[in-house]
Symmetry: C2
Subunit: 357 residues, 2 copies
């Protein structure tokens, strides 16, 4: 079968031939439909993030997949089920308490592999296998865009953890800010628009000039565009209003510190970006004092697991069709896979199609 991989010493994806995998006991065989591309894939390709599986000199890419079960192999799945795989798997050293407790998303570094990212092959191949307990059934109607379930699940987890931090009191947020206008930022903005909390005002921060397709999407969602070149994060309360909820999806490390100044009293910021080391001057006294005197919270979140994928399938139904249509700027056949990895100001979200239902 064909697969898209990055090989040792290379910095661009290629199509390779691999044998079709055979499911082990407890695993199902899945025929791949589509696999999304995101920033993590670009980092893996550039060598900044991932790692090859032990003993291998290539890594099959892709962690945002949707497929159809072709061999349930005595699992509880059925042939024809449309499924999305979770990403984390036990590391080469074997399983551990986080997998046994069904929360591998909480496992620390070194206690997991991530398919398509570190230590385990991803899903950009015509077929893949997975233990059935890591395959989440989704409605057949979501098959086309099922590659969005994984990124939506990332926000489901972050939102769950952030909201939990506010659960000790009666919290009624009305304003929210998404830092970052990439596909995850825009998905999150649409999710907050549909959120049960009923946000009255939404904002999304980017650094783009109009006309720009992401600004068009923000505004059609009813959000206000904040140009970070004009309004630094810590000035957002004076320029607009204090934010009850902030979602940081840029990995720009000043945002973690500045977010606390941009929060309204009793607000929470969820951090998801992954920056490199960067030392700079911070008014850590003001940061600390503001956290305390206004009961603020900062919550880091990475990855997601089955319950978040399941929540994502419900959230998916609440996202407007026009939004999904505008968000996905390209779905490419295997023969044009390179186009899916292009990343310019007209690209928001792309996927590679391996097959159809």
């Amino acid at each position: 079968m064909k697969a898209i991989a990055v090989e040792r010493g290379e910095d661009k994806p290629v199509v390779i031939e691999k044998p079709r995998p055979e499911p082990d006991a407890g695993e199902a065989l899945v025929r791949t439909l589509r696999v999304g591309v995101d920033g993590t894939d670009h980092e893996v390709i550039a060598g900044g993030h991932g790692g090859f599986p032990e003993g291998e000199d290539h890594l099959v890419l892709g962690h945002e997949a949707v497929g159809v079960v072709v061999d349930p192999n005595d699992t509880e799945l059925e042939e024809g089920d449309v499924v999305v795989p979770t990403v984390r798997r036990p590391p080469a050293s074997g399983t551990n308490e986080y997998f046994e407790k069904d929360q591998p998303d909480m496992a620390p570094d070194g206690m997991y592999a991530e398919r398509g990212i570190v230590g385990a092959h991803g899903f950009m191949s015509e077929y893949f296998t997975s233990p059935s307990n890591y395959l989440v059934r989704i409605p057949r109607s979501q098959a086309d865009l099922g590659f969005l379930i994984e990124p939506i699940s990332i926000t489901e987890k972050a939102r769950e953890h952030a909201y939990a931090s506010r659960s000790a009191f009666d919290w009624n947020p009305s304003s929210a800010l998404v830092l970052g206008n990439g596909s995850l930022g825009l998905l999150t903005l649409a999710m907050l628009k549909a959120d049960d909390k009923g946000y009255e005002s939404l904002y999304c921060l980017g650094r783009r000039d109009r006309p720009d397709p992401t600004i068009d999407i923000m505004e059609r969602l009813g959000a206000t565009y904040v140009d970070s070149r004009e309004t630094p994060v810590e000035e957002i309360p004076s320029a607009h209003e204090g934010m009850d909820f902030i979602y940081e999806a840029t990995g720009f490390p000043k945002h973690a510190i500045q977010s606390v100044q941009a929060l309204a009293p009793n607000g929470v910021a969820a951090l998801l970006g992954v920056p490199s080391d960067w030392e700079f001057e911070v008014d850590a006294g003001a940061f600390h004092r503001e956290m305390v005197l206004h009961n603020k919270a900062l919550v880091g979140s990475v990855n997601s697991h089955v319950k978040h994928f399941e929540a994502a399938t419900v959230t998916f139904t609440k996202l407007p069709r026009w939004f999904l249509r505008d968000l996905v700027t390209g779905v490419y056949p295997l023969s044009e896979f390179e186009a899916a990895f292009e990343d310019d100001d007209t690209t928001i979200k792309t996927a590679i199609e391996f097959g159809t239902v």
Copy 2:
């Protein structure tokens, strides 16, 4: 009646004469038993923290009080009830949503007065009045040390909020670190020792040489003393272990940033100290990344309200008698009130006695 106050332009407490207050409708009249002294009182006296009530040129001190109801004044209280008052009251501008929702501890700056701290007279007087819904009944057996209920309530709230931030997953903390060996730090250490989470290892950070009474208390509680001059906070994981829970009670602003490095994966740090502005170099990239990749949380907490005071009366019964005896290093009659404001290495917690049950 006699009261202990700080007067405009002065920086030390004095005894003044004031008329005994008359309870308004909904208020009870309370005869004061004892009032504790803490770091906030010292800040108020030094002018660094508080503010006089409108139109007055003195502030009666004290926010950690215990008293006995002498005139219930048609409230649900009864004569002889032993009570502890909460601290926040509506500001001079009138009530607001935070008081109406019974969570004034979540009110932002400007939307509350604090008795004995800012905008309202405290409890260091022979009698005081309070709306009865801000008076928490405590067992008569706690009357002597009832002035500890307020500081215990501060940790009840911080602990509640910090634990809430970990409630979205199955969190089983085993290690905890208290930053600060003042009376609040030691109270918190004893509370964590008695915590339902069943911490297996406790640490307390200070900067004292042995022999020292606070180190004796830590060690008798079974905690490990960490000398911050030898082991900076961010080196605690390599010197000891990563911490599942950190309680920051020093107001030293490097601790907010360093705590994230000292946390174990999935840990949470509660921030309670109130530092001034202080700019310095921070590896904000590492801080941000560590928050994200290990699902960490930082939660600020200030003040407390009725439910936390009620929880504190239960927690109080779990604290060892020897601990309470060693913690309270002096209870002084009004004639010796100045001794209660002395603060040296032999002083841990003091109170002023206005009367007995």
